[in-house]
Assembly symmetry: C2
Homo-oligomer: 434 residues x 2
């Protein structure tokens, strides 16, 4: 059973602060092991990757079999049921349609001094997408990472997905095919991140790596950051539901559980302006926890990190929500748009009772890779922008240089950077001669 | 003297690869010291910051004197010469005008299924800007960090700048004032980063930290990443100049030296299609190195990392440039726009002989905080976007949920996430009853 809080209680602030600060994840310190793996892959390339895959995934590879062949992919995806293929294609289409709108415009203008200024966006040339193996091998995550990369124009997109004991998930391969992935390698762990970042004889290096993974993968991404770009380091998932009493308690119970079933360290919080309704939702949760397949995980998450918070009104709910800065925020109230306008920090908003967060996980269109652990205060979900970079442009005419060059020279002098100042001065002198 | 390369030479590829891979910076391993400092500031707050400032900056502070008072700031900025004030204001105006154009639009649309989708940008609430003390305490960097933050709408902007032995740079305070900075603290090092990230009794925590610093500051930023957002970890600066023979060799020599004078590990490279012209520029560099104030630094950089590369034609120059992915790229050729169109990876472009990179450092308008060490392959210069985050929006109608919900349910089942599927199914059932 989750804990109950009420903003009217004297101990509310202390308990809410404790809830905010709860350490939900104990990351094992694998940094030294990961450093060794990366050094090994840099030094020995394919040989190291093959040895590590044999050790960790009990799978014997050669440089030739490291990559899935076109024939193998075709054979695997043929196993997928038509209904699942249709669902993946609908999801991909909707994710693509959403992310295409994120593509930013280039700009170029001439200012009153005659300087032409602007910028230009270009895609990263090559990206790598890490896909976990085993239980957390989600085809939906393949789409959520690969589709934005292809929308951005990434030319070469390589996927790594471990296949422990040779177990392959056909849906992951199909999602990669639908998204337009160019290469798929059956490797995983820190060795896959190292191979993507530094390259081996078989795997060409990439410029950016995205995708979720375990503690080893996260530590490896942190280590190769700088050599390549990375996306965020994802933490355990969380949902906040703000609801009035005019909701079906079971709907909200399932929304809370759809977060909790991910992970024992996931967090599900209900905020309501009606305490009795809060109890009804909690009862519905208990009922669902009797039958859910993943009730052990969901139950532990709800017990350890779940909460039902009663507030005086929805303004108070919005203020609490901003302190939490939730990854997912459902607004199940009479006027969700009005409440949304009062929210500043959230990864993704789901408005109204007909928008369960699970729709956003798969087919809504927006990305499901979102900032966790309060990082929505300063970061955003994955987008096409993550696979683009911007080059700024400046072009001075002689008149523009005459207008603004002297100020540059003054500032260079004040910073004791003589060559900076002289590079402007010699040009101004030549213009003044002419 | 820099080294000379020619793409026609048999050993070119080997030498160019060595140039690309040259390790220009030996970062001391200060990670353990920094971890201790951060833990100390988290545990003891102001007391720790005050003790560390006494030890490292030989400056005795109290919680009351940690922050510059309005009176002190006024007294310091009164010392600035009118010419310097005018130059800073011109720079700030131009930087502001450029960055205002970066502000992205919110979007909201309804798709054919009836789903309303979109996103909304909001500013980070509080940002911290680290400004180095001593020689590298550049007022221009204060503008380049603080102006975009204020353009983005950051409500609270705190600056930390160490004042070793009490030495204050009035121009830094004036730049902060012009940019609209809200708080200025005379602290530095890892203790300043820890105070900004975790807060102390005197300093409220921020959500994002930007700004350059030494190895201690860089290590501290890496460590607090996740708790707060950070900008890039900057490496030594670099410039690539692509020039034809129709240029003044002394102009280009000074452009190369304006990078080299920053740091012995800076890198300046000239690429030209005329070998004789390359030698002329190198001669002009040698002449300038006899008199430049910072000739020891600039000379070491040019000797150890400088290069003059002769290419067959400008297409080859563009291809080499993309392999370098330079922070600054000057195109001093007859048709710089045509050449720019062939460039994919660069932090900032400077087009034509009248656009010395130094103009961009101060008054051009684009940001001078740019991706170094080949990271322009995957990252961009600082911008207003770095102080914004995006919340995605989804709102389903009953009709939209009927249209796309079944696909979400199918995918949830295929990922064995039962509660996800049920949260959609119970709603579809209720709609089908109704």
């Amino acid at each position: 059973m989750a804990q109950f809080l009420n903003t009217r209680d004297a101990d509310f602030e202390a308990r809410f602060t404790a809830l905010l600060g709860a350490k939900r994840e104990d990351s094992p310190d694998v940094d030294e092991i990961v450093a060794g793996i990366i050094a090994d892959v840099r030094a020995r390339g394919d040989d190291a990757v093959i040895e590590l895959t044999e050790r960790f995934d009990r799978l014997a590879l050669t440089p030739e079999t490291m990559r899935f062949s076109a024939g193998e992919i075709a054979a695997q995806v043929a196993k997928v049921a038509p209904e699942e293929r249709d669902a993946l294609e609908l999801a991909a289409d909707r994710i693509r349609a959403y992310h295409v709108r994120q593509m930013p415009d280039d700009q170029l203008w001439t200012d009153p001094d005659g300087a032409t200024l602007g910028w230009r966006w270009t895609p990263v040339s090559a990206a790598g997408l890490y896909v976990p193996g085993g239980l957390a091998s989600y085809p939906s995550s393949v789409l959520m990472n690969a589709v934005p990369a292809k929308v951005a124009g990434v030319e070469r997109l390589a996927v790594t997905v471990p296949t422990p004991d040779g177990a392959v998930n056909p849906l992951v391969l199909l999602a990669a095919e639908i998204a337009g992935v160019d290469e798929i390698y059956r490797i995983g762990g820190a060795q896959a991140i190292a191979a993507l970042a530094y390259g081996t004889e078989t795997i060409a290096p990439v410029d950016k790596i995205t995708g979720p993974g375990n503690a080893f993968v996260a530590a490896a991404k942190r280590r190769v950051f700088g050599k390549v770009g990375i996306d965020m380091i994802a933490g355990p998932s969380e949902i906040l539901v703000i609801a009035d009493a005019d909701n079906d308690p079971d709907f909200l119970a399932l929304d809370l559980m759809s977060q909790a079933e991910h992970d024992e360290s996931a967090q599900s919080i209900l905020v309501t302006d009606d305490e009795a309704f809060g109890h009804k939702v909690a009862e519905a949760v208990e009922k669902r926890l009797q039958t859910l397949e993943r009730r052990a995980i969901a139950g532990a998450s709800w017990r350890d990190f779940g909460a039902v918070i009663t507030v005086r009104d929805l303004d108070e709910a919005a203020a609490l929500s901003d302190r939490i800065a939730p990854e997912h925020l459902e607004l199940c109230v009479a006027d969700p748009d009005a409440l949304a306008a009062k929210i500043t920090h959230a990864g993704a908003l789901f408005l109204g009772a007909w928008t369960p967060e699970a729709v956003g996980d798969y087919v809504g269109g927006p990305n499901h890779v979102l900032p966790t652990a309060r990082s929505a205060r300063f970061s955003s979900g994955l987008s096409a922008l993550d696979f683009l970079k911007r080059t700024t442009i400046a072009k001075m005419t002689p008149a523009a240089l005459k207008a603004i060059g002297p100020a540059a020279e003054t500032l260079a002098k004040s910073e004791s950077l003589e060559a900076h100042g002289l590079s402007v001065r010699v040009r101004l002198d030549k213009l003044n001669e002419g």
